[in-house]
Amino acid sequence: MSQRRVVITGLGCISPLGPDVESFWAKARLGESAIGPIRSLDMSDVRFQNGAEIHGFVPTEHFDEKQLIPLDRFAQLAVVAAREAVRQANPQWSDAEREKTAVVTGSCYGGKTSEDEGFREIYANPGKRARVHPMTIPRLMANAGTSWIAMEFGLQGPSYTVSTACSSANHAIGQAFWLVRSGICDLAVTGGCEAPLTPGSMKAWEALRVVSPDTCRPFSKDRKGLVLGEGAAMLVLESEERAKGRGAVILGEIAGFGTSADAHHVTQPTIEGPSLAIRRALEDGRIDAAAIGHINAHGTGTPANDPVETAAIRRVLGTQADYARVTSTKSLHGHAMGAAGAIEAVAVTLTLARAEAPPTANYLGLDPDCDLPLILSPEACHAEYALSNSFAFGGLNAVLLFRAYRG
């Protein structure tokens, strides 16, 4: 039986590379990195200094003052990205279709900024009648992005937030994809949103000793860790039938989703877990590994992730792993945690649609354990199928299979 096909008709992205999809792509396609000294926080007591921040975001340009009261930064970014995606898709919803439109977002932290700011006074002044702002709970709840997107567009379908650390957005997009493919929904607004740059989380990441003291160098020799980022990206997914029926511009296709758990260790990845997720994505899309021409890797730039990811890709793709061109755009936009997979989904969609692949920045040379065919300068990409990997702390893996849409 032929399956319903799921296409992408809208993209939205606000990231350290720029406030929208086109500004993101203008830099990403050339491999320009947005990683630099963190300016929004006092980093004098933190061992690392660099991050990937969104500069120049003025919330009052997007929301009136009253709207902003219950909105943490991560939810603001979610709504801004969703507006761009919906504007492009122009879904022309009927009331009945709004009831069959899902909103599924990923977020690792939720409203970390509000939580940090709100509780600081209480912890600093025990027993002193310190109070928190009454909107602290609505601001910090991890589902705020989903809720505000649903309210913004009046969407009443299955709506929820997935929180699986660095895989959150890929899990969210994968779930939304399945909802549309199965016919439970006709459309979905899906992606991820994160604003994790707070004093508390900087110290927590410092303590975990996985953040690079300089920059993000995926798959490179002398890589020293990940670089934290922030942002949001959203996709409008739609059944191919509906999109074609209304003459929508189709930007790409999601063809499969695979997910698995390592069931092994909270921070040490295994080869088996990621391999299983990649294999399941191929099986879900009913394609052979030989069809994969491009991979947007998880590629965090940590000593632990990159060789394990290399081995997992090689295990599933076999000889095709010597040909599928690999990039990690985290070297450009940083690691935006629960938004990472969504930002990378925008990158992959544009890579396939525009036939050009963004390079991995900051590469210093070969690590024999990470010997994938890396894209190190801008190059053409004529792949039909691409994978986008996300592997989370806690051993939760989520892999999306994209297809260039050729009708």
């Binding site: 009136d64 009648r129 109070r131 009454p134 909107m135």
Partner: protein
């Protein structure tokens, strides 16, 4: 009760409401109801937060639930301020 309440408290309550709701202060009188001012339940709890700060009082949940307008709000605040200074 209103007669005994200082006009100062009423004016300070109105100022807090105007600032919190982003409303022109002249639109708010003692007779204004929350409904007229489009103050919903979420707005209401933020008002309580700002009033607690302005008057350095602790507004109990039970008392807060009964309030429907500016006059009642100012009366409640005046009562709590009086208790504090008693």
């Amino acid at each position: 009760m209103l007669e005994s309440m200082s006009d100062d408290i009423l004016q300070r309550v109105i100022k807090v409401v105007a600032e919190a709701q982003k409303l022109p202060i002249e639109k708010i009188t003692a007779e204004s109801t929350f409904e007229e001012l489009a103050i919903d339940s979420l707005d209401g709890i933020q008002l309580l937060f700002h009033l607690e700060t302005e008057f350095d009082i602790n507004i109990p949940d039970e008392a807060a639930r009964e309030v429907r307008g500016i006059k009642e709000l100012a009366e409640g605040v005046a009562k709590l301020v009086a208790q504090k200074t008693a």
